[in-house]
């Protein structure tokens, strides 16, 4: 049986200027992943709206797109979250907003709330477009976390389906792990040695995970592993931006408390400044 983490893809539909691009992106993904597309609209059902959506979907219908439109009135966050559960959505696609005059993207408040609470995987799209922008380079985190194996496997699946040719597995090594404060030449030497050791440890851990990834996804893809030293969750975004990755795949956050929002870390940083398309694996 073919491994496919994404049987059902969901997308929130609002009649905004981005509507066409958003639907195009989601439909293309559904075709790539052979999944069903659920279009969720927060509002009353009307024939006019259905016509409009179906018009946009037309080019994909020929290629065998399986879709369903859900209409539900209420609070957008509630509606989308409840629908994803009802319809067993595995992957929810959300579009990002672009900050005026800046080449920076961020997630609107609704999407942000959904991201925090969703029980399914989430794909945040930086600039949805009607034309397909090929995905070439995927960056995935290699944190020392039980979820990581699933995340990496999903990353390889996505890379394969989208035809990406390069995956970089990033191990973030934090200052706490290093546990050596560099103050003079002596401590620098110690830190450098310790870093080498950590690097080896991380690389061998990743190698173990890689053994579990099905062979056919690994084939034809250049795999690189890159240890970086920085703040967890934030630096990987920075890295993805530096190497101009097309997709960043990350673990879902474990728990978000009030303090996390006040002193943002991990995923919260990524949400305030999206480096590229981000896929959060649940």
């Amino acid at each position: 049986m073919q491994f496919n983490p994404f049987h059902t893809i969901g997308i929130g539909v609002a009649f905004s200027p981005n509507l066409k691009a958003n639907i195009y992106e989601a439909s293309r993904l559904s075709l790539f992943f052979h999944s069903k597309l659920i279009l969720i609209h927060v509002g009353e059902r009307s024939e006019e709206k259905i016509d409009q959506i179906e018009l946009i979907l037309k080019p994909f219908l020929n290629k065998g797109l399986d879709f369903e439109i859900v209409f539900k009135a209420g609070d957008p966050v509630e509606v989308i979250l409840s629908t994803t559960i009802e319809k067993n959505v595995d992957l929810l696609v959300l579009g990002a907003l672009q900050r005026e005059n800046f080449f920076k993207y961020y997630i609107g408040s609704i999407a942000r709330k959904i991201t925090r609470k969703a029980k399914c995987s989430i794909l945040l799209l930086v600039k949805p477009s009607v034309e397909r922008v090929p995905c070439q380079h995927v960056v995935v985190n290699g944190l020392d976390d039980p979820k990581t194996e699933k995340t990496i496997t999903a990353a390889f699946f996505v890379a394969k389906q989208l035809g990406a040719n390069k995956i970089t597995i990033v191990e973030e090594i934090t200052q706490q792990e290093l546990a050596v404060n560099v103050e003079d030449d002596k401590s620098l030497r110690r830190a450098t040695i310790k870093k080498e050791r950590l690097k080896h440890r991380e690389t061998s851990r990743i190698r173990k995970i890689m053994e579990h990834v099905p062979e056919k996804y690994v084939k034809d893809i250049t795999i690189k592993s890159q240890p970086i030293f920085g703040r967890r969750g934030y630096s990987i975004g920075h890295y993805a931006e530096v190497v101009r990755a097309d997709l960043l795949v990350m673990n879902s956050p474990s728990k978000v408390t009030f303090w996390d929002r006040l002193f943002p870390h991990d995923i919260e940083h990524i949400l305030t400044e999206l480096p590229t398309d981000v896929l959060i694996i649940q």
Binding site: D184, Q226, P227, G230, Y234, V242
Partner: protein, 731 residues
Amino acid sequence: MRRRKNKINTFLKDLPRNIFSGFVVSLIALPLGLGLAMASEAPPIAGIITAIIGGLVVSFLGGSHITITGPGNGLVGVLLVVITTLGLENAYAAIIFSGVLLVLLGFLRMGKLADFFPSSAIHGMLAAIGLIILGKQFHIMLGNKILRDNGIEYLLEIPNTIKTAINYSNEGLTYAAMAGLISLAIMIFYPKIRNKYLQLIPAPMWIVILSIAFSYYFELIAKRPNPIDPNYMLSGIPNLNEIVSQLPEINFGKIGELSFWSSVIALTLIASIESLLSIKAVDKLDPQKRRSNVNKDLKALGLATIGSGFLGGLNVVTVIARSSVNANNGGSNKSSNFFHAVFLLAFIALFSTQLSRIPLPALMAILVFTGYKLASPEIIKKIYLIGKEQLIIFFVTLYITLKVGLITGITMGVLATFIIHVIINKSFALFIRNMLKPNVLMYREEDNNDNYYISVKHFCNFLNYYRLKEKLNVVPQDKDVIVDFSMCEFVDHTIMEKMNNYQELFAKKKGHLEVVGLDLHGTDSEHPFALRRIIPIPNLLSNFTKRQNNIDELARDYNLEYDASNDKDIYFLKQFIFFRTKEIDHIYNCLSENNKTLTLFDIEYSEGEFIAKEVVRSSIMHIKLNRKIPEFTLDREGFLEKIYGFAGFNDIQIENHSDFSNRFFLLGEDEEAIKDFFDDELVHFFESNPYYHIESNGSDLLIFGKERLASIKEIKAMLDFGKRLEETINH
């Protein structure tokens, strides 16, 4: 075990050199200590006690290598206020508490404290301190003691004092003023005279020696009392017994008062800033390029300050001028700081009565010069070249420090900097939103050359520089680093200055640091801080000096290329031992052969820092060899080299060439290879040609005659010498 033994061996080998260097430093520390203490309204001996305690404690516990500790210039401004408001006995208590705070800062790893202050604000504060010192001591230098309320009023009185001094009717005062002026002249002109023997004794010590000699002349030969007014002689120097037996009373009575604690905080802040800046500057001068452990140093300085406070001394800080003298005289480890203290102790034990023969104006001249150096127009010009907005920051800090006080001054400086940054970016949000974000990413590029890559996002200024610094500090400095600012919307002048410092550090350790991604900023007129400082290159072609015209003619004659303009590309020189303790500014008037192996150029470099700084312009020849040779230094044998010989440098003797060995002083690590390299032909070549200082770094040669610009005739002689030497070696 073996390594430890080696360590002890090198320590013992370097010991004579360090004792020598400690001695030279103590010569400059003695007059400075006396003067700095008096300028702070403390008894003169307090400065010496500070230096002795500092040297003894920090040399054992400190984390830096060639720094010298003692009473600092920056602190004069604070101590003066503390002592006048609290009284001396309470001031000692404040000093002790500031020592405790310094130790705490060390434990809390606050060595990065100094990074949070924009460099123009620090310059402004230091200039204000300089003006406070200069303003107050100028009057005593001219024999006109006056009392005013604050620094500005002292400065405004200067013309009056000059007027009074010209019209003195009291002969004693005229003599006092003369002593002051002559001393000032010594301080000013000393660096301009490049004489090895004269330079062996630092300028301040010449002042001390000359004034003591002057006093003895009147006592022993002229049999008259010293004509300088007795009120203007140094007084109150106790001898060693008195210092030990009469410890000062320390009064903790004002411990509950607000003014006491604000004094403690001011002392701590300025002491730590001055020390941290000095340590960083001295690290650049260290010939072995070691990195100081600033936090360990802070702890040691704090402890020394506590001890010094109890014994009647002042705050112990790391001082730049004395440390640079130490570096220049071959100090290589902490023991030179220790010996500087020991020699000071010996001076006090042996010569404490002689010290009262020094006229006050002479001592104050040293301080006036120090103050001037802190606030010199050069600094203002430099800051202006960086940007006009830096000048605003500078003057805001300067003025408020003079008018209100140090803490308020530096706070306003920081605030002014931030406001200017906000105005320039037209965005407050840029800073607020991104202030706490970990905006620096570093990783090692796995694929190719193993470089380190650092990318900085959002903005980078004094507020978040410590993050970039943390990353840069963990890179071994013999590696290649790329710092990429292309995702950074704003980079301020403080950062650019520090990047430049790092570049030098990496270059000296044979690594390389490159800053990239500022091209966009450069074209964007709204980013004037994104500095690549433009050095105005005057149109030299139309405006040659006579010497340049002659060189140009010579170039055509000899078929050489001539380029008169300033060239900052000087990295090829950094690996020569000669430049290890020197800072190269630029090279110019460059003559080169078509194949570029032999170049002859004028160079501007500086030696020492702050008041011990000497700027030298000299002509140097550089030859690229086509084969590897051992590293060595060759110079003519002289009296000074004999002294150096005693101080632990080994002259390599070439067998069967005693004439050569006697006449030349040959230094190098790999003795065997050098002996092999100096074959008969080469030795004969050197024996039959004029003397030059020659240094090899393994693949290149550096050749120069005297440490000054060469005349056209000398240039021709050097070119000829170089060509023939090149042939002899390359044959």
